[in-house]
Amino acid sequence: MDNELFMNTELPPPSEMAMHFEQPSSSSAMLNWGLMDPNLARNSPPQDCFMWEKSTEQQQSIFDSALSSLVSSPTPSNSNFSGGGGDGFIIRELIGKLGNIGNTSGDIYGAPMNGNVSRSASCYATPMSSPPPMMNRTAPLTEFSGDPGFAERAAKFSCFGSRSFNGRTNSGIPVNNGKIVNSGKLTRVSSTPALKALASPMIPAGDSPPKLPGEFSRKRKSVSKGKSKDNPLPAASPSPSFSKVTAERKEVSEEKGGKRRREDEGEEEEGNKGGNDTKPPEPPKDYIHVRARRGQATDSHSLAERVRREKIGERMKLLQDLVPGCNKVTGKALMLDEIINYVQSLQRQVEFLSMKLSSVNDTRLEFNVDALVSKDAMISSSGSRVHESGLQLESLSHHNYNNNSQLNTNVSSNNMMLHSPMKSLEPSALARGFTHLPTLTQFTDTISQYQMFSEEDLQSIVGMGVAHNPNHESQSQNMKIEL
């Protein structure tokens, strides 16, 4: 049935909105009224429906008259019905009447409305004309906007009213809903200057009307994100961007054929900024503040996207510096290709080197550390160490593990006292089997000791590799070529 209702809609976005309005319908009073037969007692339902209005007797009489006209209209409208326009007009006039409620004087529209039941153009015109005069008193419209659920409820009312009309296609209803909402926002309805003048005072009036058109925007999922991102953003630079956005918004409202999404997002952002204006001294949290650059869209969505893109771009730049040969490549895809290739090549290198190390390990039985220590001694040219370690190296060549442990202790006598804890480590590590984590913790212990004592030694271990480069350049080059 809903689809039926919206099938003939000329404006798809208002249909979206209408659907949105219908879905969160929670006011049971409205539902009841919609489901009830419109020809039932008219007094009680309007009271239920319009309890939210400031009801004076005069207004109730207006309600009654409106309702009666509404209720009585189906029969003439059924006869005059031409493609679903009639319902819309009725609704419109009803809404005009409802708009009347906010007025202190409710006499303005009583007479003309009653006479325009089945007129198309005039009915269309009257709600148009109704807001501008109302705008002269900003109070009623602020009341409009001040009532947070006004437009919603009006929309629901109209929707259910249309339902009660045997589910006639209400092409007018979505239009009307749009108008209801825009009576608060006044962007889509017309572009009279009065509307625009109203727009700016509307901004700080409340967040709810701006939020309603925010529901129009197709990118609904990023609404909240944009809002959350946007809230601290204006806090950093409230006034200039605010004025810029208001200017933009006015431009937006001026152009009739402007992009609807842009309008909505501008309005939404307006709402956000309006909300922020209410709390200006909000401290910036852990958001990164981005100022909208000149010539770029200031929508919340695009701002958030820009932040995200910049983050990614930063990291890509760093990766570009890291990966060789990426300077000439531009574009994320190609750079990612290069990065992937580089990571794969590095991993392959590690595999190759591990193979090499394993072969080196297997062929010789003497222990690396001692050999390294000896080399280290040679490189560091601390004479005392050289001879001892050299001797140890030769004596090491045939020794198995036990002997080497002794030699470890010998070596430790030099200055690597950490070997003894290492020696104690190894049998325990072996005895424990394949528990890697405890050994790693033990490593950290030894490492701390390493740091205490043998920084020079360990430096030289790697430093030897470095130092050997001048000597073994050819070897290293050959290694590279192999790779």
Partner: protein, 205 residues
């Protein structure tokens, strides 16, 4: 004194050998990176390039190698153990990261899990689905090329499959820096051992 060896060596080596080129670029890069604004990446890149880290890694690697060798000795088998060494090296690398990065934690975690679950079983069950229609699939999902490449990168970096894009790039940066350091350390170690080998071979009867 040995500390001074590092910068002097790096400065004096002027060849076109890749390693020296890498080291020269390392110096310039560290200088460049200090000027950069992003703290995390900068810090991670510098981290993997300090002497201290290299020392720590080298010592740990040495220890791991020793343990691997002893294990193979005791076991009696003189298998190639290349994988063991590579795993040990990766583990040691991850340990050097001190758990600050995601991939390091994943590497350590997989090691524990593998040792508990008997390596091969885990590998067999965790194997990916064999995809035969890779070409067709590529055509189908051709549109987000960048996204596909990001996925591939996520698969390459351990433990980063379901990670957001900026985090993935961060992890990749750190991983690349760590891998570079690993390669350098292992190269130098292999060189040393290879250099030491002939001497010991000579002394052997």
């Amino acid at each position: 004194m040995v500390d001074s060896l590092f910068p002097s060596i790096e400065a004096t080596v002027d060849d076109a050998s890749p390693e020296s080129r890498r080291k020269r670029r390392r110096i310039s890069e560290t200088a460049k990176e200090t000027a950069e604004s992003s703290e995390i990446n900068q810090e991670s890149l510098k981290r993997w390039r300090t002497n201290r880290v290299q020392q720590i890694y080298a010592s740990k690697l040495v220890e791991a190698l020793r343990r691997v060798r002893q294990r193979s000795n005791d076991g009696g088998k003189i298998t190639s153990a290349a994988r063991e060494i590579r795993d040990a090296a990766d583990r040691v690398l991850a340990a050097s990261a001190r758990g600050t990065t995601r991939w390091s934690r994943a590497v350590l975690a997989t090691r524990v899990r593998a040792s508990l679950k008997k390596h091969k079983k885990a590998k067999l069950t965790g194997a990916r689905k064999p995809r035969k229609d890779t070409a067709a699939e590529r055509k189908r999902s051709k549109l987000p090329a960048v996204e596909r490449k990001l996925k591939i990168l996520g698969r390459l970096v351990p433990g980063c499959r379901k990670v957001t894009v900026p985090n993935l790039l961060d992890e990749a940066t750190d991983y690349i820096a760590a891998l570079e350091m690993q390669v350098r350390a292992m190269e130098s170690l292999a060189e040393l051992l290879a250099a030491a080998a002939p001497r010991s071979m000579l002394t052997r009867p």
